[in-house]
């Protein structure tokens, strides 16, 4: 069911999701602000992985995919 708009809570949820599963690191410094934001890059990476339309922005389909029940890969695995 399409969502009409993305709320602030959804944005925060999405950021946490990307930090947890797509290794998003906090953006900092002016260099980041000049280019595409790390959040948008990670959103595009996630959309590519799940075969979603690659928009680099948080749309209803991307949010719905984030909210599906899933496996939570432990962080240690990434470090290894």
């Amino acid at each position: 069911v399409p969502l009409s708009e993305v709320s602030v809570e959804d944005e925060s949820f999405a950021k946490n999701y990307l930090k947890k599963f797509f290794n998003l690191t906090e953006e900092e410094g002016p260099a980041v602000r000049r280019g595409i934001s790390p959040v948008n890059k990670k959103l595009a990476e996630m959309q590519r992985f799940f075969g979603l339309q690659i928009t680099g922005s948080l749309d209803a389909d991307t949010l719905a995919m984030m909210k599906k029940p899933r496996c939570g890969v432990p962080d240690e695995q990434v470090a290894r």
Binding site: F21, F49, G72
Partner: protein, 372 residues
Amino acid sequence: FSIYGRKWQKRSLTYRIENYTPDMSVAEVDASIGKALQVWAKVTPLRFTRIYSGIADIMISFVRREHGDFNSFDGPGNTLAHAFAPGDGLGGDAHFDDDESFTFRSSRGVVLFIVAAHEFGHSLGLGHSNVPGALMYPTYSYRNPDTFVLPQDDVRGIQYLYGPNSRKDPSVDDPKPPTTPDACDSNMVLDAVTTHRGEIIFFKDSFLWRSFPQSQTPQQSLIRSLWPSAPVDIDAAYESRQLDTVFLFKGRKVWAFTGNQPVRGYPKTLTAFGLPKGVRKIDAALHDVNSGKTLFFVGNNYFSYDESRKTMEQGYPRLVNQAFAGLTRRVTAAFQHKGYTYIYSGPYVYEYDLGTGTRHRELRNSYFLRCT
């Protein structure tokens, strides 16, 4: 598939179930865990032995929230479980979020066998797959544990790490691993096509593609990701816009969904739509928006069902080629789009104007279901 770059150097691994979920009986948990490990043992040289004390390679526990590995669970929903890649200590261990409702085989809840088989994939060194339908795809969707067969992508992944099972009894004929249907396969014959709230949905085996009007890229997923109680390998589908409902047909049964919710009172039988008792299955269904009639294709014939009166029209069945000029082959799927009627027969799609009965074009599957 993806791998973590770590694998077990030995072929004989131990596992230990440290505690149990109250959602299921001890016997059900034992059976689910044992069967989940066998999913991987069947296709590799790996063998699993259960131990009841001490440290096993794969330690299995049901835990809530913060549980000592700095990877807290999050209460009901979202994260269901996690497992660590092969290694010492936490390596290989699998943790299940006990705030979930685990079940033995019901679709009302999370099937422990499916989650465990996925987690043990991690325990053995597999990462996530981006193939919808693969066991190692990161999101959960219901599958029947009794008929589960490890998909081809997962077989390729685990055999890349450990090789095939050389001790397999050649007299045992295992079912072929299921593959994910490919929109670029020009010979693919779709099971059904329907509209759904402005989208077009294409069905094949246990999969569907959703094609959104604003997107060129169809999105593939499991049918049960969208409708957990829906059948797979369906025969036909159509949307009633008046009822805001999609009907799925398989054999003599009909399922109905509004949005992603099942409609109460379904599944029903074909006779509820006025079809004769002798009809065991339909080949395709087509809802005509202009007349409000739904056509059911059965072999060379079709029936016409009046949606508003909820009765089958008199004078049917009729021959398909009476209404659809030149159509002599079996109809496999049908739907309407922008005022035209599209009849699928094998990998071909025929465009008709239902008002005049004329055929305009012969197209291929890829006209609507794009190969991207």
